[in-house]
Point group: C2
Chain length 382, copies 2
């Protein structure tokens, strides 16, 4: 090993240089970014979070934010960046190396009237774990009136791929569950919750018109199946359709519309391949009775949280989907028309940010959280 000798003066110069670089990066963040359809600046709301995973607005300037692995829930003032810890959390599985913790948090669409907040998180032990979904209210930043709405069955010895996104739409609660990574066959097994899109009434009851409600052995909550690791799910406001995305294996990340009773094919069909190369299963991309994705990415962008934009401050983005990307760090903008993807743009790809969620604020700005611990927003600029 080679040793480098530096003088104190050299070291001070280096440190000054690094400080300057840091200032340079901060300044760059507030410069206008001209993208294909809109020009914006980036504002940092808060920093030093431990992997923010989800965000939901309670009022014009107040949001809840989760830290997945730390299993923390905060109330965030987006004007000041002030964070308050929410107390009274339930028991949350957050034992390394299990990739668990708190996943999504969603305010009910009529939160201002009914006060309900929905939260998805990991429960159980290393040997047997799965996803749970509760709803609760808040008083003095403390959880009240908590109700268990859902708990995955069977519990499995999973380490990764919990899924964990929630959508509230038209009185229904949609839940995305992952395949547990080592348990991918369960995605085709209707007697397991793993690897599914589920649909409940928003109070946890099972709707009578769910597709497998009368099928012996099938779990009645299942809405769609053949799912791998759905870390993004969102309502398309214009159509009422629920979309979800998921990590493929190496390549073959997908975006899909969650159609009733549909089999999305994992792990039988996929556009990805085994890590390190080689086919998965039979190495096929099509099979009768299994749905093709709406759109897919190769190589993997590693999609995470997503939202549809319907605000007024970015008029040319109306109707577009925004998907966070982890591996190919960026925000993925998809132009969507009649259920098909017309175009893809990769925003902020030069920043190196692993984007965990994208959320539209009541102000119409686009908020997003990154693994570096920041929550930022895009604000229109000229």
């Amino acid at each position: 090993m080679k040793h480098i000798t530096v003088t104190l003066t050299q070291m001070l110069t280096l440190m000054a240089c690094l400080a300057g670089l840091n200032r340079g990066l901060s300044a760059q963040e507030s410069e206008a970014v001209k993208s294909e359809a809109e020009t914006f600046t980036i504002e940092t709301i808060t920093e030093n979070l431990d992997v923010p995973w989800a965000m939901t607005f309670l009022s014009e300037n107040t949001a809840l934010v989760t830290e997945r692995e730390a299993g923390s829930l905060y109330k965030l003032d987006v004007t000041s960046g002030q964070r308050d810890v929410i107390q009274g959390l339930p028991d949350i599985l957050r034992d390394r190396p299990i990739s668990s913790g708190i996943f999504d948090v969603r305010a009910h669409p009529n939160f201002s009237e009914n006060g309900w907040i929905y939260m998805a998180y990991g429960v159980g032990t290393v040997e047997g774990n799965g996803l749970a979904v509760d709803r609760f209210k808040l008083a003095n930043n403390t959880i009240q009136s908590r109700e268990r709405l859902f708990e995955a069955t069977p519990m499995i010895a999973g380490k990764w791929h919990f899924g964990g996104r929630l959508v509230l739409a038209d009185g229904y609660l949609y839940i995305s569950t992952g395949d547990g990574y080592d348990h991918s066959a369960l995605a085709q097994d209707l007697s397991a919750h793993a690897g599914k899109i589920l649909r409940l009434h928003e109070d946890g009851r099972v709707p009578d018109d769910n597709p497998f409600i009368n099928q012996q052995e099938a779990l009645p909550e299942i809405w769609a199946y053949g799912v791998r690791n759905p870390q993004g799910m969102a309502l398309e406001p214009e159509t009422g359709v629920v979309w979800w995305n998921e990590h493929g294996p190496q390549g073959g990340d997908e975006i899909n519309r969650a159609s009733k009773g549909t089999n999305y094919g994992w792990p039988i069909i996929t556009y990805g391949e085994e890590y390190g190369g080689g086919p998965i299963g039979d190495g096929i991309t099509h099979k009768d009775g299994m749905e093709q994705p709406t759109y897919y990415w190769v190589p993997s962008i590693a999609p995470s949280g997503m939202t549809f934009y319907n605000g007024s401050v970015f008029p040319k983005w109306q109707g577009n989907a925004f998907v966070g990307a982890l591996a190919l760090t960026h925000i993925n903008r998809l132009v969507i028309e009649d259920g098909r993807v017309l175009h893809e743009e990769r925003l902020l790809a030069d920043k190196g940010w692993r984007v965990r969620f994208v959320e539209q604020g009541p102000d119409g700005y686009i908020y997003f959280g990154v693994d570096d611990g920041m929550i930022m927003r895009l604000v229109p600029s000229q």
Copy 2:
């Protein structure tokens, strides 16, 4: 200006080095290229053409090839690279700076029985020109029995954007025409052929069920309108649908399905912008009664000739569309399902080849021509 002095030895070394580099590039062409779904080598069939623009197979090993600007037509043996000049060409407009010459050439699907060949080319003068389409037969490499099937009206003082692709399908002849660049308003004018997709019987008669056949002032050949510069058009064999692509202005290159009577919006709506920036027209992307593209590219790839693949030697490419790209030099592979684009891959993007056409051979190989004057093919490899 700085002068560089080199010795003879240095010069010889440099030349040897360049020669080695050249050998290196040739060798690289025959190395296996691993793409997302298929692995292939690239074989050069012929070189030193002056912008090959179209290719159509007459038999297993024989094809016709056009040079657009030179206005030449050749018979090419794809096993030997041997080219024979076709004699007896009609009068073709090929006066610089008009971007005319011979455009597409297509053998009839039953060529082996009826011997018909279809050709699109520019006619007229600098002051008044447009697209013409003939069909003819060949004897001793000479054009025989030539019939004029179509001639654009009105003739316009156009310099660019002739369109000029042909598709023969189910007894019909589809013709793509450009907007003449300086005459873009004609694309919305049903009394002009410019900026349209046209549909004839394969003998030139106008079909009774064309959409504007009973509309006073409208030209009866029009199948679809609101088109800019359609340099690629192809039949999707599985569905019988005709697809076409076109250059947008700066950005907003499109791929579309040619639906009967449909207005594709140019120059009213577009995802592109004026060269140098700024909106086109009202700067809008949507308008009632105007169709959205199936898919679009921003920034421009500058799409050219296209084909759908249904051969057996590249099984994982079946059903995919392949589109040549000029500006962003590559072959664009589009995975298509039920009329939507699921995925895009850019093949050979590192080669710097402006790809003018992509054609499937009877052998299932994919043939393509580039502005550097080569015709090459992709052959499966392990």
